[in-house]
Amino acid sequence: MDQLPLFAESRVPWTVTDLSRFLRALIESEPLLQSIWVRGEVSNFSRPKSGHWYFTLKDRDGQLPCVMWRSTAELQVRIPQDGEAVEVHGGLSVYESGGRYQLYVDEVRAGGDGALFLQFMRLKEKLEAEGLFAAERKRALPPWPKRIGIITSPSGAALHDMLQTLSRRYPLTKVILAPAAVQGEDAPFQLTDALKRMNQFVQPDLILLARGGGSLEDLAAFNSEKLARAISASQAPVICGVGHETDFTLADFAADLRAPTPTAAAEMATPSLVDLDTALFMLTQQLLRHSPFSLVRRERQRLDEVSLRGARALRQQAQVLRSAFSGLQASLAALSPHAVLERGYAVVSKADGAAISRVGQVAPGESLQVQVSDGRFGARVEKED
């Protein structure tokens, strides 16, 4: 490339090789051309003994020579046929000895998606115009769902992932599964029907609608108009978790919340056990801090230390937290007012119930209440000491 200015200014002719090299360097330095998708029709497909694939990608007015090296070709599940519509991915370069540019293909996929995608866009626009996907239709999720409805295939990995996640995060909930096919001709009907039955018979706090990832064709059921309408009509909020990172389905748009995977959907649906433990631990600390007993107040500093240690621990894991918590329970039991009274202490209060902690609070002749471990009795102040 560095030679270019020299040659360009000169009348000295380039060699063919130099020109080819120059063009090759030019094309290969353009990132846009090094990772592109091209769609067209396969023609002149050949697979010589070398194991590499050679074919031409055509459309009405153009042709693009394509190569797939054996290392990649060997991994392909199916071999493209002449006349087949495909989309190929790869990087563009120049084949110097042939004097032509060509695409070095590393991925081939069926090209039928084009028409499917158009259909998807049209339907999406229509439902959007009806307000089905409007932000103000999205409902808040209950923070502590008691019952969660799951709609998915009873045999898929998605169900397994969701149950595991719920069991780990929030086993306080109850799961009701409405099985439905998630792909195939009958899937839109089954999914829609399951959603309706779930709302009619179960009325869960929220619904997880999920399946594992797949091609646009596999996800067709989640792009059906019927299902999108059923989701937006659902009484319980719906979290849609279809395992695909980039493409959105109509079900995603219609749902109250969209998750990238079934596992993520289950996570969004629930608080985690660790969070609950933490909250309970903190609250118990607060309770102790406001104990009415002065003895507890004297112990407060010690408990604060326990609390700090506990707080650090619970950031790490629930198990550690639980043991810290039960330690606290023990301290709490030891500090119970009954335990104190059992040891011979008494609570002395005025007739109006106000506890007495200072001599100045009483006057000679005044009647007082004394509480001991098994009951209370009256007493009278004789004189100040």
Binding site: S167, K174, A178, F201, L287, H290, Q329
Partner: protein, 77 residues
């Protein structure tokens, strides 16, 4: 404050929320010692109850049939 309900009959959410109210009540300087003791003891019971629920919790899974009935599902979680 609803003290009439038996602690054992409360759900986690109910028990936790009542515990929150008790702590708030104790923070708001209860003058009556008896009342403070009662609140404190109730709070202690609630905390124990919550902790026990978390310890024992196990995910329950049921299946909704075509007819709208619920049936126990052999667990696979």
């Amino acid at each position: 404050m609803a003290k009439d309900k038996l602690i054992e009959s409360l759900s986690y959410e109910e028990a936790f929320q009542e515990l929150e109210r008790i702590v708030t009540g104790l923070e708001a300087q209860v003058t009556n010692l008896d009342q403070a003791i009662q609140l404190f003891e109730r709070g202690q019971g609630l905390a124990k109850h919550c902790s026990a629920i978390l310890e024992k919790a196990e995910l329950k899974v049921e299946e909704l049939t075509e007819d709208g009935d619920l049936r126990q599902r052999s667990d696979e979680a």
